[in-house]
Amino acid sequence: MLQQGKSPLLFEIFHECKTTKARAGRMALVHHHVNTPVFMPVGTQGTLKGLLPQQLEQLDCQIILGNTYHLGTRPGINILEKAGGLHKFMNWKRALLTDSGGFQMVSLLELAKITEEGVKFKSPYNESDCMLTPEHSIQIQNIIGADIIMQLDDVVKTTTTGPRVEEAMHRTIRWLDRCLKAHQRLNEQSIFPIVQGGLDSKLRSECANQLIKREVNGYAVGGLSGGESKNDFWKMVHLTTNILPKNKPRYLMGVGFATDLIICSALGIDMFDCVFPTRTARFGCALVRTGQLNSKQIQYRKDMRPIDESCECSTCKIHTRAYLHHIVTVETVACHLLSVHNIAFQMKLMKDIRQSIQEQRFPEFIQQYMLDLFPNKEYPSWIVDALETVNVTLL
């Protein structure tokens, strides 16, 4: 495919870790630049859980996600088109990424059926038969106007085995070509193909090898983080990043736990997304280095410390665990305060990862992080194994 004019995505790697496969770099997108490795918070319906765009900027978010399925249903494509795209509709001036809509369709709608043409489903509003084709998905994403858009892929449950996985892998490649052909805004948006192939090394390798023949600006690793064993998970990531070209960003879909972010950064992933930090905030959970703190629990009733003494976010600067305990699940403000903290937590973690890569001390960073997390050194074997493959031995 011929690219005309300036590329909508320029990826530069500034520092490569000398020990692991990690790299620190920067993606220049149409609306904003993004420092990688990056965590992208999810703003499903054109808003990020009660936070103002100004607050997200203060938290140093450079890119957030929108969900095509939700946006296409409400407010609907007509409204988004009239608004001039999602950036203008929600007044977000920085970068956006949208998914293809396929994943939500298969996971939310019980009656979704996948055929060669596309995803067939019944409208949740009027029961009529609808079809989301690769062309249609791209057409919608062209209207939404995100900086990075995703191909429609054939999604199967991560733990599925047998011929269905292979069929889905091949169909994903065929659908990619249809998506690339349908893409109308080559100078403004980049389509990322999605590596599928379940937990089968052969299928994953074949898929990745096929996808890298297409001229695109970046790649996604899909079909993981869906209930498979951690052992299978990291091996698939490792195998895929070995095949994908070094000079393009790699996006691991649906991954956002701190440990996974660190290990997968070491395996050479540049972009992550997950609803977890904002979803867990709604239930009163705050992220901390050692895991989660559920502010609803009675032990925090008289705890006058902030969630995290070392955290620089406005929530930790102003409020105590005791106060949060009293308003959590009662006042919407509690949810906003925890969202602010949880996003600040993710942003800080990624910043620490980037900085340690830059200063060539990422292996030491990993060792210390894991030691803090497992002070008795009872490391889960998958963490030990995954890190061994990138030459990091835990303390």
């Binding site: 859980k49 407010p75 007509n78 409204i79 007044n91 403000v333 906003h336």
Partner: protein
């Protein structure tokens, strides 16, 4: 704390100045003033950093005990006052008993006890318990325990009972207040009871007049909650010079103007909060000829805003109107996203703070009457009945005074 007013007339709109707060000595407030309504220690839907984007001026917060009394045990054990516990120490606070935004159940009366309605059910508050809470909270201002369980329909008997028991409550609270070391920097206010009965109210006022108080809360006119916005002002009042007069509740802007003309100095932002909960935006303030909004509110439950890419009001300087469209607000309300109420709250509270600024300017220029007429027009467009009721009130005011 000190209150000064240059008004010599009683029962007239007046400008006053609140100064010399013990806790924050250099803060001053001009009256008529609107307190910012809080629930559970926060401005509903707004984190402190967002509230600071909404206003950078000093504000006085209204705090209800019903939404905060469950915090007392922690505050007491950790020896921390309310302002510090909720992280709002740079704001002056005024503690009231019931939440003005939700209807206080009537009845459940027992001698020596006031029922307090929390999210965990009913709490029986005695004078001892109440003053213990006050010593923990250390509010800048608070109202003495009172029985305000009266409204326009209350019987004579109920009204005189409420006046009587409120006097007893006040007497006991005041003794405790006066002898408390901790409460030296807190101001106690008396509640004027008596419902809509002139004689009963006079009894209440005459009793409180004998006390050295900085101000009074006009109580017993309603049982709180959103419906208060539908009752026109039908009350009587006897201004006691150089004291603050406070009236809490979800009064609509027209009634607020009426009450200001009767000499009330302080209100709260319950009304914009209730409007926000209804997914509505206030539009009554804009009096420009080219303003698109003819009524006093617009509702985002209405489909007609789905593709309206203009702000709520193009002349409004709030963060919501400067950054977001009606179409976006409609979408957020439609999909029940939290940001919808955040943005509406920013706009509605901003409008109300502006409303009070304009009121003060008009009193200073002696043009409040003209201003009232203008505001009335906006309301007439939506609700002619309400405006008619309003005219009746004006007449009844003359007779009642």
């Amino acid at each position: 704390m000190k209150f000064t007013t240059n008004s010599i007339k009683s029962c007239a709109a007046r400008i006053g100045l609140l100064t010399e707060f013990e806790r924050i000595p250099n803060t001053t407030f001009e009256t008529p003033l609107v307190l910012v309504y809080t629930k559970g220690g926060c401005v509903p839907h707004l984190t402190k950093d967002v509230f600071k984007m909404l206003t950078s001026s000093p504000q006085m917060l209204s705090v209800s005990l019903s939404s905060t009394c469950l915090m007392q045990e922690t505050m007491k054990d950790c020896n921390i006052n309310f302002a510090n516990f909720v992280g709002m120490k740079e704001y002056i606070n005024f503690l009231t008993i019931h939440d003005p935004a939700s209807t206080t159940p009537s009845g459940f009366r027992e001698s020596g006890i006031i029922p307090l309605w929390t999210r965990c059910g009913k709490y029986a508050i005695t004078v001892d318990k109440y003053m213990d809470i006050i010593e923990t909270f250390k509010p800048d201002m608070y109202v003495a325990l009172c029985d305000g369980d009266t409204n326009i329909d209350s019987s004579r008997k109920r009204i005189s009972k409420s006046v009587e028991s409120s006097m007893t409550f006040f007497e006991q609270c005041f003794i405790k207040h006066s002898s408390s070391e901790v409460l030296k920097s807190c101001e106690i206010l008396g509640a004027i009871e008596g419902g809509y009965n002139k004689d009963a109210r006079t009894v209440s006022i005459n009793y409180l007049k004998t006390k050295p108080l900085i101000g009074y809360v006009i109580d017993g006119l309603h049982n709180n909650g959103p419906h208060v916005k539908d009752i026109p002002s039908k009350q009587i009042k006897d201004i006691i010079e150089h004291t603050i007069v406070i009236s809490m509740g979800c009064w609509n802007p027209l009634t607020v103007l009426e009450l200001i003309e009767l000499g009330v100095d302080i209100f709260d932002t319950t009304y914009p909060y209730v409007i926000t909960e209804n997914l509505e935006a206030l539009t009554f303030l804009c009096d420009r000829d080219n303003c698109n909004n003819i009524g006093h509110i617009i509702s985002f439950t209405e489909g007609r805003y789905a593709d309206d890419f203009s702000p709520i009001c193009s002349h409004c300087e709030c963060l919501t109107c400067k950054n977001h469209t009606k179409a976006y607000l409609h979408h957020l309300c439609n999909v029940k996203e939290l940001l919808g109420k955040v943005l509406l709250m920013i706009h509605n509270v901003h409008q109300y703070l502006e409303f009070f600024k304009i009121i003060r300017e008009n009193i200073k220029r002696d043009t409040l009457d003209d201003y009232k007429k203008k505001i009335n027009l906006k309301f007439k467009q939506n609700n002619i009945i309400q405006a008619e009721e309003f005219t009746c009130t004006k007449d009844s005011k003359l007779t009642s005074l």
